[in-house]
Subunit: 181 residues, 2 copies
């Protein structure tokens, strides 16, 4: 079972691929797609879509995980984030991948045991969980964390776990598996 | 010169193709892409991207025009609109098309002479401008209006017109040609 985690952003889209082998998590690849600055919007979005397609062709994941967006920023930044998500998710859907969404808190809790971990803690925990030689960049670490989270959620689901928790006041499974709609 | 106008939306993405032939505008095609309701987000976005790619393959436009978004709605709706725009614009960019953005007011003014035209007026004016037998749907009419606007802007630019106007308080050329960024 190979999982792609992806963290869409208009300037930097992190990706990370992990594999579950005999109950162990193995790092496959990670990186960041950065559309050339100053390009036209459609070219920048095409860069993201093409980059995702290349990652899929190279690493052939069985499933994908993205961050669930709780919109709180301005509508301008929501539009910009939405455009990046649209290019990335269309590429994933076009390849026939199923995509699950995970809340930030859920991902942090699964990796660090606490929902309030900062970026650096997340990078450290991802490096540790996958026994990496170097610390991945912020966006790639977020993407790897999503992939790890999805792998763990799958393992828990396979074990028949029924843990439930609360996130942002809304009742959800502890690992907040939600089909992206 | 064949122009694709496109009006991205998560439930309905209108498209319209017009051609400028000997100074006259000719209707080529129009329609609306409607992702199946209830599908996963990534599948719905892939549906839009694939649909756009099919329109491009079928009608081979030389340029494209989309609506400029002045975000005023909630950040939730901005995210949803952004996702649809992202899927559509990535498909346009991936095909190497240049995409221009036009403000709503500009499009309305160019078609009806007034910035405050409602949907029905726009549909009527588009039908009249292209001598169509039937009135196109709302989304397709918006898309055709964008294509007509781009064709007119190109004609004005070719004539060396320097008309200037104001839209939403910002100084712009009268036809608000802006490269999508």
């Amino acid at each position: 079972m190979r999982i792609l985690g992806i963290d869409p952003g208009s300037n930097a889209t992190g990706f990370g691929v992990v594999e579950r082998l005999d109950g162990k998590l193995v790092h496959v690849a990670h990186g960041t797609l950065r559309p050339p600055r100053g390009g036209a919007l459609c070219d920048r979005l095409a860069y993201l879509a093409t980059g995702v397609a290349e990652v899929l062709a190279l690493h052939r994941p069985d499933a994908a995980a993205v961050e669930q967006v709780f919109v709180s920023a301005s509508s301008r930044s929501a539009l910009v984030l939405g455009q990046a998500r649209g290019a990335v998710l269309a590429a994933l859907g076009g390849a026939g991948l199923s995509v699950e969404e995970y809340g930030t808190q859920t991902v942090k809790k699964m990796l660090t045991g606490a929902g309030g971990a900062d970026k650096r803690q997340m990078q450290r925990m991802v490096r540790q969980a996958l026994a990496l030689d170097t610390t991945p960049g912020v966006d790639a670490a977020d993407a790897l964390a999503l992939a790890i989270c999805h792998a763990q959620a799958g393992r828990l689901a396979a074990l028949g776990a029924t843990a439930r928790g609360r996130e942002r006041g809304r009742r959800r499974p502890g690992w907040t598996v939600r089909r992206a709609r």
